[in-house]
Each structure stands twice: as C-alpha cells, then as structure tokens.
Symmetry: C2
C-alpha cells in the first residue's frame, strides 16, 4: 500500500429532513453567505423556501446567485467571487448537484485568490498556489459527482471550448446535507447518467496497474454492487427511498478519498476523454462516460491487465470461467448491457456526435502528455477509442 494522508473532514448530515439543520451548521462558520443554485427547480419543489426559512431562523444574511449551468462556467465563478468580495461574504452554500458545488468551490477559491483560477489552477494545474478559500457547504440534490465530500471542481470555458478540473484540500465542504428525497424528482435520464458517473468514478480507480490495493478493490466492489443493485430500482421507482439513499451515499464514498487512499495508481483516461466530448457538445457527463467506458475497456484489455477484469467479473457480477479473456469480454459486454438497460446509448452516433471533431478532441485530451495508467493513451489511441465509439 502506498503512503497516504486521509483527511475527509466534511460533516455529512444524511437523511430525510436534515435540511432543518442548515442554519445551525452554517452559523458555526459564517453569518453572511452566498446562496448558489441552478435553475428554478429548487423553487418549484419547495427546497428553496425551506433553506431560506432555516437560514433566516439563525439570522444568516443571504446574497443569492442562481443560474449555474450543468457544465458550470468560469464566468459564473467570476460573478460569484465579485459578489463575495463586494458583500464580504463568509461562506458559499451550494444547493444543487455536482455542477453547483463545483461552481461554489470555484467561487470560494477565486474570492480569496489574487490571480485567475482558470489560468493558474484549471489550465496550468498549479494547485499549490491556492492557499486560502472561503468555506464551502452543500445541500445535494443529485447523486453523481461526489463533489459534496471532496475538494475537486470541474469548470468550463466556452470561449476556449475547454472543460478542466482542479482540486484542493481546502475546498472540501465543511458540511454537506444529503437528503435522498431531494433526488426523487430526478428524471430517468439523469438518474441513469448519475449511476454511470458513480460507476465510472469507481472504474477509474479500480482499473489500474496497481498490483496491490486489495482492501481498496474490495470496498470498490461493494460500492459497484450497491449501484448495480439499486440503480434499476431507482430508475423504475424514483421515490424508492432506500434505492435513492444507497445510491447517494455510494456516490459520496466513491470519490471522497476512501477508495483511492493507498492505491499506487488510478486511471481517469475515460473521464479526460469525456471532458472533451462535453466541452465540445455540452452533453450529459454520465451519458458520455456510459458510451466511452466499454470501448475503453475493450481497447486497454491485454494480457498484463486481464486479471483486473477477471476480478471485476468474479466479485461484482459473479461471472466465472476458465478462459480469462472470455471472462473479461463477457463482463465488458455485461457492463454495456447494464448501461443499455438504463437507456444509456452505446454509440456517439446515437447522441448525434460525428467524427468531425475527433482529431481536435484527441489533441486536447493529450495536450499534457499521454492519459491513463492501465494503458498510456496517446493521441492515436484516443482517436481510435473515439472512432470505436462512433
């Protein structure tokens, strides 16, 4: 096991009705806050009114910023940071899915940062330059990105056609409220995309050349089984509390550091390729991942790593067999069929994407060098995987 620091201080308040604690939790950190959200859905379902009520009960002053996009834009981050500076706000409270929380982290960082976080953090990856930030907190309404318990943020720059991530320990939310009932209204399409996103986070960490990481693999298999068990239930019956709860908590645990701490390597090539797709076409992240993942698996599979696929087949799907490659191919097919069962398409053509930007995307994905670790993917490899997925 590799040396690691595990430091996950986010206080999670999980379950039906936990929003009633939001005022008290905020009060521990701030008296004037930026309330950040996306479109009007939280006003329609009553969550907005509840949040305002419980914040007001604790005399929290609130400045609002709404309209965060599904792929949150750096312009919104700048607007939010201006508001925080102008009003001396002390905390950014995101109410929404991963996009809103990612945007809140951008705002929290930019508010205290003298340079431009897009250039220094997202593009140049100089994460160490960020030494302070406003505290971030969240009320999660969509299980997918894990942003509610980690310091990661992915932002989009439409002018540059780029979607880039950064991360910092100081951006881990101080608290996150996870109420599964808020995800009852998530539609089938987003429920499926969220489930794929969670599974992809696990695949990116599970599939690696790391010869060790036994404990981490066993935990990830447990989380994969949880999503595979409950995603079809939530898909068919959106108000099944237990399904929504298991998926929501699995999502947070899949990307809060628990599953990667101690691993020698992780992959993340599929995410980097997908970021190119959603930067160019603004598609739903989980759908892009669902299309690309099985092709990536087929492309990287070789005799060095076939045991990883066998382990996945045995321990997650109960698929066994004498021929390792046949078992591996079976489980890749099984994975694609599972995504299809949630109406996730199998090809880029299905979602209206043609090959016209493949070369651009392959160039952009590998601009800092080869991506991934299971197999190091260069320009031609990325181009090949995109072409397979056509």
């Amino acid at each position: 096991m590799k040396n690691f620091i595990y430091d996950v201080p986010t206080r999670v308040l999980f379950g039906d009705g936990q929003v009633s604690n939001v005022g008290k939790e905020v009060k521990k950190h701030a008296s004037k806050i930026l309330l950040l959200y996306g479109k009007n859905s939280i006003k329609k379902n009553g969550l907005y009114d509840e949040v305002i009520k419980f914040l007001t009960e604790e005399n929290i002053e609130i400045i609002e910023l709404s309209g965060v996009d599904p792929n949150p834009r750096i312009e919104t981050v700048r607007e939010g940071a201006d508001l925080c500076r102008k009003h001396n706000l002390e905390l950014v409270l995101a109410v929404g899915g991963g996009s809103t929380i990612d945007c809140a982290k951008g705002i929290a960082a930019q508010t205290k940062y003298h340079g431009d976080i897009w250039k220094d953090l997202c593009v140049d990856k100089k994460f160490n330059l960020l030494t302070e930030a406003l505290p971030v907190a969240s009320i999660l309404t969509l299980a997918a990105t894990g942003s509610e318990m980690n310091g990661n943020s992915v932002l989009s720059n439409s002018k540059e056609n780029l979607k880039l991530g950064f991360n910092s320990y100081i951006l881990r939310p101080v608290f996150s409220i996870l109420d599964p009932t808020y995800t009852f209204s998530v539609n089938k399409y987003q429920t499926a995309a969220g489930a794929v996103d969670i599974m992809s986070h696990l695949f990116e960490q599970y599939f690696s050349p790391d010869k060790k990481g036994y404990l981490q693999s066993r935990i990830m298999e447990g989380l994969l089984k949880t999503v595979i068990h409950y995603a079809p239930i939530a898909y068919e019956n959106p108000t099944n509390y237990d399904a929504r709860a298991n998926i929501m908590w699995a999502s947070s645990l899949s990307l809060n550091g628990l599953t990667s701490a101690g691993k020698e390597s992780t992959d993340w090539a599929t995410h980097q390729m997908e970021h190119e797709l959603s930067a160019k076409y603004d598609i739903t992240h989980g759908v892009g991942l669902g299309i690309l993942t099985p092709y990536w698996m087929e492309y990287v599979l070789d005799k060095e790593n076939v045991h990883r696929f066998v382990e996945y087949a045995n321990n997650v799907w109960g698929i066994f067999g004498d021929d390792d490659f046949q078992v591996a191919k079976k489980v890749i097919t099984k994975t694609r069929e599972f995504f299809n069962s949630l109406d996730i398409p199998s090809t880029l053509t299905d979602i209206g994407i043609d090959s016209s930007k493949f070369e651009d995307m392959a160039t952009s994905a590998t601009r800092l060098g080869p991506i991934g670790t299971m197999k190091k993917l260069e320009y031609k490899d990325v181009l090949e995987i995109l072409t397979m997925a056509l």
Copy 2:
C-alpha cells in the same frame, strides 16, 4: 437507510516513515503535551527516540506517563489527568495500541471534567455530560481496536472488577499516525488476536436484524475479506508490509463510523460478554472474542436471521448451497476453523477459565437489560452461551 451524521475528522498519516510528521502535526494543536505509552517496547524498537526527536525539533514540551496496561485502568487515567492539570498540558499523544489510545481519551476527558468519568460516563453512560476535552492524537503500534479514528474508550476498574466503555465525538483523535512497520514486531499471538478483534467489530455491525444496510454490508464484506486474506500472511510472515498495511487500515475503517453510519441496528452482545471475561480474568480481548463468536453465532441463528449468515457465507467465503441452515452452519464452522488456523483456541477451558464466575458474568453483562439485537440476550442466554463455550 437510517438518518445519520458522519463526521470523521481524524487526519490519518499512513505509511512507513510518517512519524517524521509528528512534531508538525502536534504543533497545529499544542506546545505542551502528555506523552502516554505502555511498557518499554517503544524504547527497545527505537520509536520512543524518534518521537522525542521529531517533537523536540518543533519545540514541543513533553511530560511523560508510561505503564499503561493492556486493559487500561481508571487509576492511570486519574494519574494522567492530574499531570495534565498540574502542567497545563494541551494535548495527549498516545503511542501504542488501542489500550493506550483508550487511556489517552480517558485522560483527555477527565482533565476537563469536574466529576468522575468512571462513574458518570463508564457506569452511568451519561455521555452528554462531557462537553470538552483535551485533543487526543495517536501513533498506532497495534492494529485491532480502531480507537485511532473514533471516540470510543474502554477502561477497567480492578476494584469493581468491571471493564466499561464510553464514547464521545469530541474524543476522536485530531490525527493518527499509522505506520505498518511498527506492527512488524507484534507477536503471532497478538497478531491473531488483533485480526479476530477487527473481524468481531465487523460481525457486531454486520449481523443485525436491520433489513436494509445494503451498502454497509457490502463494504463490511470487503473488509472481512481483506482481514481473512492478510491475517494468515501476517501471522506467517510478520514483516510482510502489505499484509500489515491492509490489516491496519481495515482495522481503522471497521470502527470509525463508516460501516455503521446509516444502519438501523448493530449487535455488540459478543463484545459485552467478552468484556466480562477480560474484566474477571484479564485475558486478551481478541482471544475472548475468537472463542465466544462462533458459539454466539450458533446460539442466535434462527429462521428470521438465517439469510444474514447465508449472505456472509456467499459473499465472504464463497460458500453456497440449497439449504440455508446447512450453509449457515458451514460458515460458522468455517469461521471457527479460520480462528483456529491462527491458533486461537475454541473453548474457555483451553485458556484456563471454568464456570465458577459464569453467573456473576451473566448478571453483570445484562445489568442494564438484555444485550444484542440479532437475538436479545438475557441472563439465561448469556449463561447458556458461556456454558457452550466451556
């Protein structure tokens, strides 16, 4: 899933050589500390010198208290609290196994508490009375109790022949250094006992009437598989780093809240029975657990809960079959055989315990009412299980 708060702020520094950070980590919280340890083993293996060196480099003032017993005594807690008050110490740093860390928590609590923690917390279980404590930190040298990431403490009172636990969120260590190489010198007997203790913590949470807890069960199965895979390796080859590392991290994750958060119920009857054994006979906790666990399983098994044992058989041991009760009995036998393979005996007679104090122990174990949830055990049930284990 039941509503829960997950709040595990302990910063874990894991891996070979992390002790070099102890001074810097302490400095964040304190400049004068109590250094608490057990016998002379940390002086023999050089750890004591290293700790002193790295603390001194950061100008930390140190008052020492050594001689913590394997079942830490309330008298040591009182002595430590007197030292902390007298010298205005600001943090208690435990260097040792779970006993030393438990003792450090007792000292940290008693120092700031005006009453007697033995009476109010251990005996009367009025945990809410504890509102402040010194910060606790640890350098772990034995993987077993999970004390390094939680707020639990178990103390012994030899005058009253009692071993009682208490817990408080405010006693969770601010940081813990987990270096698997410190466990290389743990002998076979303690290595086996530690592995059983970790597995027992998982059993106490895994086996419950809780109809839900899917995610939690899958994670616990992963942790059980990890201990089952690596305990025999560490037992045979005490300096196998990866075995020691996986066991150490599994130990922390098995009792830091991760596996119980969201569960509707847990059991803990076996632990309560074992505390009677080690209070009366001062035996090693993990050995007591290893003897009692299979008998407890046999005693509580019934048609309401047989599915739990089948799940355990299928997912942890790969034991399948058509008859649920046969599968359950097979996996109980398998569990006992596994313990035996680590030279953990199967009966109380094997460790020199006769039935003379069984009635006392059964009375004491159930003094606050029935124990456990899989089956609520009253006086006569505890007596029966102890008799089966004879």
